[in-house]
């Protein structure tokens, strides 16, 4: 199999943002059944090494296709949009402002009288925003070929998702700390 095979091709799926997750996981299991190293315990060294590589590729492709944010980003990359996370952070000011506010709210939890319910509120808020951005991505990625402006638009949305996901992780980290302290 050439290096140029896309993850969609590996899973024999059309390039599309909408993916049936149950179907995806079935395809995943079918692929792992034939490439997993356990199937090659008695094979030659080369076959064993190849199997580890293939199984890793299948795992990676599955993770990317399964996650909406990573799938969107991957679809853009297939259309030659390159990401440079450190330079690409020119997001719209209103969004950044919101982010800062949410982050501050997270940091102030320690002084809250009922930190857990405040945290739950913040987490629900983040979740709502993620869903909204996701809907927007889906709408934009609907067209087969994107023009430059659309590409840039989706790219911004993917970055927003990354921000929100990071924030969600931090909220979960805080939750862990709070619960540990109980």
């Amino acid at each position: 199999m050439a290096q140029t095979q896309t993850h969609f091709e590996l899973f024999e799926l059309p390039v599309s943002f909408d993916i049936d997750l149950q179907d995806l996981s079935q395809r995943y299991r079918k692929l792992q059944r034939v490439v997993h190293p356990d199937k090659f315990a008695n094979a030659s060294d080369r076959e064993r090494r190849l199997s580890v590589d293939k199984a890793a590729t299948v795992n990676d492709a599955y993770q990317i296709l399964k996650s909406p944010q990573r799938r969107a980003r991957y679809m853009l990359e297939l259309q030659f949009v390159s990401f440079d996370d450190e330079k690409d952070m020119a997001l719209d000011p209103a969004f950044l402002m919101e982010q800062i506010e949410l982050r501050e709210a997270l940091e102030e939890l320690n002084h809250d009288s009922d930190p857990i319910s405040s945290l739950n509120q913040i987490m629900a808020d983040i979740k709502k925003r993620i869903t909204a951005v996701l809907d927007e991505i889906r709408e934009n990625l609907g067209q087969a070929q994107l023009d430059d402006m659309q590409k840039n638009n989706v790219k911004q949305l993917v970055h927003k998702m990354q921000f929100l996901n990071k924030l969600q992780q931090e909220a979960e980290y805080q939750e862990e700390n709070l619960l540990d302290a109980l």
Binding site: R29, D38, A41, E47, L50, V52, D180
Partner: protein
């Protein structure tokens, strides 16, 4: 437990060639070995008919004693009798000191990264101690099965990090075993449960052993066992229950609590009596205690279940944090768990059962034997892996328990692979040089979830050589981290603009280097007065045979993928190896294996692609 009897299509071996395989549960307290005999997994007993082997090794001036006899000598000869050595696997001297005076051995300061315990028979590393346990199990199996073992599967706690896994595998190597696979203990238990109950859906396995705790959440789907998340604590187990009881006894008996005042003998006796009391309290409300003190007097009293419960509350509570984390990482709620399977001897403690029931809002299942289930399942997998039976129905997809990262500027860790990623996994990261003409660089690999290097576990330092000399910043060195199905990390590097592969030298932080292992192996062979070269030749001949057999099977199935010229090239290389393998030229056999491997490159790749295509052929959305 019900076992699958699977017919043997395709590459099956014929009955005369039945290969002997075994599963080993290398436990903190006890170890077991099992094997599949006429389609059924069975624990292999020793000559006295006992199934478990206490994981205790006693060193005397002229011999090494393993198991029951060693265990009963522990209180008499504490410094030379090593128990719970699993807790030291893959650990550094500082980690061990942190465990307190609880394990009263003397450690030697050495230049190796591996701590060594001082005994009358010399200094021994935890890996060597484990190897003694494995050797004892190996000879037990060979006596029971009547021939030598082709391969084994050894189980490890799911939460074992890279160093602990590597140490276990090295112990297997030292014991002269061919370790086919390291299998995570809770995954093994899940497989046993799934096969037995034909269960589908999401289950949790709560595994509390003598020294380690694991929680794994798995999705079972038609023979596929997919670990969704795992968490745990590799320094928490039944030993800790014993310790809190021992401390309580000290208090009651008026023994000075500062541990350095207690003799090694006294401590061992206390731990033994504490353990016995704990076991009594699994079925009774109170346990009698009769303690022999150092001054020859006795103290007697009793420990009630209520007091015991109070003593261990915090410890049991400590297991619930990983449970919560595993659920969250799996992205599910406790109510979505269909069953909770209990494994490990410490799940016999009533409070453990109660707290687990509360947490998961259901009665946990305690009907599979928590002591033997893990080794039985390892035996089933070993049997599949050596090729005795086609494992078409069974697929285990496990995860890496702790994130892997690299040290970056300012003592920070950058995550490369996050925890609970399905293995095998590979991730590449690009680096560049910061000086003109720089030809080497060093990478520090770490495992853990924290941001600071000092809070994570150091796995090792990888030094890259042979980087082509360029101006600063021009080189693009792509370093690939690969974690295999055993959860073990390997690192490769190449400079992308020139395509030059870099040499990598690995210096494990808490493990043996390959050279050290080689030396130990050589030493042990020399002790056995065996001829080293003869043994190496024999091993190479066996390897040649294995390679040829695998190739013949592949050609029989997929020979059609090759044209005549390609086929001829492979046949020539195979014939050459076949001829040489009967001779006694070690080097020539090795080279012929490499050559055949090269000749078959394209064939192997085509075969893999073909099977991928076949796997998805006829797939449709409505299947489930």
């Amino acid at each position: 437990m019900a076992l699958l009897q699977i017919s043997e299509p395709g590459q099956s071996t014929n009955p005369h060639e039945h290969r002997l395989a075994a599963g080993i549960d290398l436990g903190t307290t006890n170890s077991l070995i099992a094997s599949v005999k006429s389609g059924k997994a069975e624990i292999l007993n020793d000559e006295q008919g006992s199934d478990t082997l206490p994981s205790v090794v006693r060193y005397t001036a002229n011999k090494i004693i393993v198991g029951t006899d060693a265990k009963s000598a522990a209180a008499k000869d504490p410094l030379n009798t090593i128990s719970s050595v699993k807790r030291y696997m893959g650990r550094g001297l500082t980690d061990i000191k942190e465990l307190g005076g609880r394990r009263p051995y003397e450690f030697a300061e050495g230049d190796s990264a591996v701590p060594r315990i001082r005994t009358v028979a010399g200094d021994v590393s935890p890996i060597e101690v484990s190897a003694e346990i494995l050797k004892s199990l190996k000879s037990r199996a060979e006596a029971a099965l009547g021939d030598s073992l082709t391969g084994v599967v050894i189980t490890v706690p799911a939460y074992f990090d890279d160093a602990q896994r590597q140490a276990t595998k090295d112990a297997g190597k030292l014991a002269g075993l061919n370790v086919l696979r390291l299998l995570n203990e809770p995954t093994a238990a899940a497989v046993a449960y799934g096969l037995d109950k034909k269960a589908e859906g999401v289950i949790a396995v709560y595994d509390l052993g003598g020294g380690t705790f694991d929680i794994s959440i798995l999705r079972l789907h038609k023979g596929v066992f997919e670990v969704m998340a795992t968490a745990g604590d590799t320094t928490l187990g039944g030993d800790d229950f014993d310790y809190v009881i021992a401390k309580w006894i000290m208090q009651q008996a008026g023994i000075n609590e500062t541990e350095k005042d207690i003799s090694h003998h006294q401590m061992r006796r206390l731990m033994r009596d504490a353990c016995a009391a704990k076991e009594t309290l699994s079925n009774m409300d109170s346990a009698e205690l009769n303690i022999e003190l150092d001054d020859g007097s006795n103290w007697s009293g009793h420990l009630t279940l209520d007091v015991f419960n109070e003593l261990i509350t915090l410890l049991v509570q400590k297991t619930l944090l990983p449970c919560r984390r595993a659920l969250r990482d799996a992205g599910i709620d406790a109510s979505e768990i269909k069953s909770v399977v209990m494994v490990g001897g410490s799940t016999r403690v009533p409070q453990v059962r109660d707290k687990v029931a509360d947490f998961f809002q259901q009665q946990p299942l305690t009907d599979i034997n928590p002591d033997t289930v893990v080794s039985m399942c390892a035996a089933i997998q070993a049997d599949v892996l050596v090729g005795n039976k086609s494992g078409d129905d069974l697929l285990l997809l496990d995860v890496i328990p702790l994130s892997l990262g690299l040290e970056t500027m300012g003592g920070l860790v950058e995550k490369v692979i996050s925890r609970n990623t399905t293995i095998p996994v590979a991730r590449a990261q690009d680096f560049t040089t910061f000086k003109d003409g720089q030809t080497a660089m060093s990478i520090h690999a770490l495992q853990g979830e924290r941001e600071l290097v000092s809070d994570c576990r150091s796995l090792g330092r990888f030094t890259l050589h042979d980087i082509p000399s360029m101006v600063a910043g021009a080189a693009r060195i792509r370093i690939t981290f690969q974690v295999d199905a055993d959860g073990l990390l390997s690192v490769t590097a190449r400079e992308e603009t020139t395509g030059v592969e870099s040499g990598i030298e690995v210096k494990p932080s808490y493990g043996l280097t390959d050279t050290e292992i080689e030396t130990m192996l050589r030493d042990s062979i020399e002790h056995a007065e065996d001829d080293v070269t003869a043994r190496m030749l024999r091993e190479q001949q066996v390897e040649a045979e294995r390679v040829l057999e695998a190739l013949q099977a592949a050609l029989a199935d997929d020979g059609g993928l090759l044209n005549a010229a390609e086929r001829k090239q492979i046949d020539v290389a195979a014939n050459k190896l076949s001829e040489l393998s009967n001779g006694n030229e070690l080097r020539a056999i090795k080279d012929a294996i490499t050559e055949l491997d090269k000749a078959a490159t394209e064939f192997v790749a085509r075969r893999m692609d073909g099977s991928i295509k076949k796997a998805l052929a006829g797939h449709n959305v409505n299947e489930f």
